[in-house]
Amino acid sequence: MNVSPPATSPGINDFVIKIATVNGTGSASANALLMKAIFRSGVPVVGKNYFPSNIQGLPTWYEIRVTRDGYAARSGTVDIMVAMNVETYARDVAEVAPGGYLIYDSTWPRPALLSRNDLTVIGVPLARLVNESFEGVRTRILMKNICYAGVLAALLDLDVECVRQLLAETYGRRPALLDSNMKAFALGYDYTRQHFSCPLPLHVEKMDATRGRIMIDGNTAAALGCLYAGATVAAWYPITPSTSLMDAFKSLCDRTRVDPQTGRRNFAFIQAEDELAAIGIVIGAAWNGARAFTATSGPGVSLMTEFLGLAYYAEVPAVVFDIQRVGPSTGMPTRTQQGDILACAYASHGDTRHVCLYPANPEECFYMAVQAFDLADRLQTPVLVLSDLDIGMNDWMCRELEWDDSYRPDRGKILGPEELDRIEKFYRYLDVDGDGIPYRTIPGVHPKGAYFTRGSGHTQYGAYTEDPVEYQIVADRLLKKWDTAKRLVPRAIIDATADSDIGIVTIGSGDGAVREALDALRRQGVRLDYMRVRAFPFSEDVERFLAAHRLVFVVEQNRDAQFRTLLTLETSVEKSKLRSILHYNGLPISSGFIVESVLAELGAPAGSRAASPALSAVRGDKVPKAGEG
């Protein structure tokens, strides 16, 4: 009996390639080439980069999952290993699933590699091939990567014309580079076709499942969102894995926001001295009427907390992207985690809560970035977008991003010169409309618009106070605004078609793995309802989903069950109902991990017939739901 079977066994358009190299050797372009070639064949693909916090010389892996079913997560198994790094040979070889393939550079004999007799070993003399055809150490290193891309292309039956086209797109303006890349590719391709029977049983066959899709990373998508939201001030302090968001914003602005005549820019891009200054700049700019944002990761969020409290209390919009990485402290800067859920929700001292958005993939990073600016302006408060390294830095296949030209930024309740002319007197913190959101003005616009912004106690009229009643009026009004926020933030995505009394809940990048796990569980007769929470404060549907299920699995990527804690603190759910599934080793969560955890909790190994009562319940032997019987 197979205790934990892979979701499905590998086959055509359904397998995982892992490429082990050394960082700083330029393997990224070869890996991207392979991904893109598969994607352009119409076959869905997932790419995960496991890289060190280092510039050169440490091991790095790239995992390409070919997934005809279009799953978004890591699968957790490896079918084809390209072992290019001597230092990690042993563990790389050990990781390949039985019946898998091992590709290595046979320029030097590697008898140790043959230690496993359940693998097919494919030796290609990559170094020799490249050294015979290219001069210069650096060139040879780079070309060896393109050469293994050629080997894989032959084994997987990739379309050579498509590869040529992709290389032309990259090196179109540098014909010499195009030629050498094509030559290196052909060296690997031809050698493999001559010496091995191609393709492998695991190979790529053309499909039509990527039409209307793009391959994009979450940081680029978020940067596009900032561009389209009309952000004009960006401030940051470099930190992995958020830096590429700022780099992308800058390059998008350089392409679209520079006056061709004067060379003057419609944006300010400010590298601050630290994260304290970065968030200060954002708050100052937003206070003065510009749309402003910063991107950071956990350590930066820690530094920003005092200012976030000011922005909450003084009611200044601000947009912060937290691309989460492994903590605590410096942690593992190049690995992924969802470790800042609580730090962001309650950032700063005193009674402070922040609106948080939890995108699940790059597509959502784009739309939620725009939404973050609208919400920040509408609610006059910081909005934190919690992405993570997996979403931010890996290429994901998603639907084409759409844009509606009728969009106009929702700047919220801002009084302009005409409105100020008309009113008797302006009071900054007065709840005129009863929704807890006051009106604000922009400096320099009108003498009647002046007010004093402070983080110290203030009355609803904007004056300094230490009066208990006056203080509490504002504090309570902020709570009313928090209630308004619940109605404005994105709702949860709920799939209750299983009609089960057991649910599974996640946030952010856990989505892909949970969806895949749900399919796998269904094949085993286990059906669960699913909810993905997309924002804090929790909207009513979150409360309802939790209430409607007898048992709820909470899937998240941190050790301390932070999301579960937030659910217990901010909804009326009974703690005992929530079962954590926690994954926090720095790798993105896989569906297999969730399937195993769910089955273990439900008390029966997969495939077992002697199901526990809980399991029989989810397997369709319906038990009446609370309130129904």
Binding site: Y228, A235, T256, F269, A278, G280, A285, L401, A450
Partner: protein, 351 residues
């Protein structure tokens, strides 16, 4: 205690500036500082300077951190917008605000604690950015608001009210600003309005970062015998090196300056600063020499004051950023979004 409005009785004969506004129009809420606090005199000088320059009050942006000094932004130009930031972080708020709208007048008021301890980094980086703002340090050698601890500007040997002697060397904001390449560096004294008002005006009109370190005694915690930041000590050890007269572009030079005695410098907007050297051999246009002279006087326990260094035209923050003239908070959305067609193009490389 709530908001204390000042009783408003306008005399019909109060002098009016070019906008027809009186000094009262540039005042703020009633000060809650200790009677005799140096900071209040600086507030009065700011009111005078803004009134005389006829700044539109709503274009004045007042920024501060936390401290007695930082409270004072509520006590002037109440028709301007104020932002009391968190302790030591006013420069970053100023940077963002200025990034969003380059056309307003930014006045930052800070204390020696706010600027030289918790906020030292942000202060230095605002100078490096050459942020177009006037930055006033109300320097009393102590943390007033937290009841008299030494600040980083306390001199070696200066005595605290409770008798403790400071043994750590001070951080001097003027010397620091000079090493960081600041283009307008001044020192003054809250008790010398004649010197302070034109300095504030020149600083407001200066394109780039203008620093005025104002000795501003704390009567409650640092005005005793043995303190080097008391009224008595400051008056005694205070030497004006350079007096700066400020003449706005729109005004004629009224006084005759004889050649050799005075050095008129034209600013980027046509305003003029007329520098009159009072200390022998002091050259406010030579950064290195100025630093040497300031340090020599410091060794002798003296404060050299006036516009200690000035360099008229230079590249300010927005020139470095390459931003447009239109304030970034007012660029029409249509110019910011590449639209549906633009997205189509931008996404090409991801297909």
């Amino acid at each position: 205690m709530t908001f204390i409005p000042k009783p408003r009785i306008d005399h019909p004969n109060l002098p009016r500036n070019a906008l027809g506004l009186t000094r009262r129009d540039y005042e703020g809420a009633l000060s809650t500082l200790c009677a005799g606090c140096g900071h209040d005199s600086i507030t009065a000088a700011i009111v005078e300077a803004c009134w005389d320059l006829a700044l539109r009050p709503e274009t004045v942006v007042k920024l501060s951190g936390i401290g007695c000094s930082s409270k004072t932004t509520a006590y002037f130009v109440s028709r301007g917008h104020g932002f009391n930031a968190v302790h030591g972080r006013m420069p970053s708020i100023a940077t963002g605000a200025n990034a969003a709208n380059r056309h307003l007048h930014y006045i930052g008021v800070s204390g020696d604690g706010d600027t030289l301890s918790i906020g030292l980094g942000q202060f230095c980086h605002a100078i490096r950015r050459n942020l177009n703002m006037l930055y006033i340090i109300e320097n009393n050698g102590v943390y007033g608001l937290t009841k008299g601890q030494f600040s980083a500007s306390a001199d070696v040997g200066s005595k605290a009210k409770k008798g403790e002697t400071n043994l750590q060397p001070p951080i001097d904001p003027v010397l620091l600003a000079l090493t960081l390449g600041a283009s307008f560096v001044a020192r003054s004294f809250s008790g010398d309005k004649r010197q302070l008002v034109p300095l504030i005006q020149a600083g407001l009109r200066h394109k780039g970062f203008a620093l005025i370190d104002v000795l501003s005694p704390c009567v409650t915690f640092n005005d005793h015998e043995g303190s080097t930041k008391s009224y008595a000590y400051t008056r005694e050890h205070y030497e004006v090196a350079v007096h700066a007269d400020f003449i706005p572009a729109e005004r004629e030079i009224a006084v005759e300056y004889s050649a050799g005695e005075a050095l008129p410098v034209t600013m980027h907007d046509g305003s003029r600063i007329v520098l009159r050297k009072l200390a022998e051999d002091y050259d406010p246009t030579d950064r290195i020499a100025a630093m040497a002279a300031i340090q020599e006087h410091m060794r002798a326990g003296e404060y050299l004051t006036g516009l200690l260094y000035f360099e008229p035209s230079n590249r300010e923050f927005h020139d470095i950023c390459g931003t447009t003239d239109v304030p970034l908070n007012s660029v029409p959305y249509e110019q910011l979004s590449p639209g549906k067609a633009g997205l189509e193009k931008l996404l090409a490389r991801y297909r």
